[in-house]
Amino acid sequence: MRKDRKPNRKGTAVDFAPHIGWIVEEESVRVFQAKKGELLKLKYPEAAVWDLISRYSQEADIIPKLAAICELNAASARTLLRSCLRSWLQAEVLLKAADRG
């Protein structure tokens, strides 16, 4: 399990919540938080979104890759990305950047 990843996401709208870690499995990504245990099991295409946002902060870097991976046009890829971000903010595995204190 990866613990306390510190992706380079400075200056972006979202960040990972503290003590988030994840494991890459054959068909999915499992997201954990210390003390709370498993929070999410992400299948595709969400698993790809999770991996991409761990390395890229700008939509412009993510959308073309996500579009190719999921065989979507750019608008649909953007919708998918934003929907994932919304859902993970709600689940509190991501935080708005301003919340980081």
């Binding site: 299948k43 595709y44 065989e71």
Partner: protein, 432 residues
Amino acid sequence: MTFSFAIPVLGKWLLSAPFSQSVALVNESARRRAVSAEPPPDFHLRAPEELDPLFLGIIPTRDCNMACAYCGFRSSRGSGKHMDYALAAAAVRWLAETCLKRNKETLNVHFFGGEPLSAFDVVEVAVHSARRLAAENGLIPHFEVCTNGFMTDDQSRFVGDYFHTVILSFDGPPEFQNRNRRLKGRGESFETVARTARALGDGPAQLCLRVCVTRDSVARMPDMSLWFSREFRPGVVSWEVLKPTSRSGKAGLFPPDPYDFACGFIASRRILEQRGIRTVYAADVLPEPRYTFCPMGQDALVVTPDGRVNACYLPEEEWLGSGLDLTIGRMSSDSGLRLFSRARQKVFQHVRHKPGCDGCFCRWSCAGGCHVHHSAAGRDIRDSDFCLQTRIITACSLLQRMNEESLVDELLADRAALEKLARQPSYLVNQS
């Protein structure tokens, strides 16, 4: 028992039958009584009608971030072209559809370069496309990458998380790695590559260290084996000899003596395998006979950044220089694969046509070595360094199968016996 080949070993004869996988150690009188009747192999000169890909190779770019002193690839001069995301995704889709049609379970994707991670974004797209399609279709994804290890920590984590096998070119301690495998601009690569190797050795991917041995490093193979096992915990160490290029001579790098290399390899294998590390010399004898040294001729399809589909990962100028055309199709993001059937047939015939190997006991284990650099038609390879070292290593491997370890030691200590074994012109059992 019938045998095909008789190999002289210190006054005895090692008899070998590659197709029945039989070996025996006999005296001269028994050799004379041995019968050479192993049937010729079932020799499919034609490719099967339907394509049955061993794996899909993707070359995201021919660019490379290093400038190795022996590299013959044009990539280190940099072509700049990276594969389009759509082409990478289309290639993976084609593979998934083919696997489903042929009831194959594994979606096997290999990445070559240049340095494939120089186009890291293309690798990300191909890996996630393959994983998505595998998950949707009940397939098992399998990823392998050949890399120089000069990567960021982020990239190293991605490789550790998503790849099953990492073949990392790493020539050993700083005195070899920094001399042989320099960065562009002549910087040293050792620290970063060693860090990558440690990180990957600690992860779940199988780490295979691919070591290029030179005249200067050959005597250090046993020391290096201990060091590799202690420092990096690889699953596999694969030893290769330097292939001379126009650059390598200028850099003062030369291939090792083939006898020294063979001795170094056997010593290293003992050290590494005692520690649970598989030790590879690519031309060594395998559990099954083979008619091709490499994936060429087994329907491995290698897609280049511009969409050509080749039977080999080497750059075009290398095989054209050997009189070969190994382009067997085109892949496009619109229409998938267009296969050139006649070109594919020629590749099948080329890998099976090895007149230079007639009579050699390694014919069905090394299969002539690299089809481009070593055994292209018309080359006289009989006493090449590759053949000499391969015969010694193969004979030692066969003896070790019979637990004749002390005979191997005796043989390796006797240069005249090694030369007799490696240079005898014919090995057919029924010839005197």
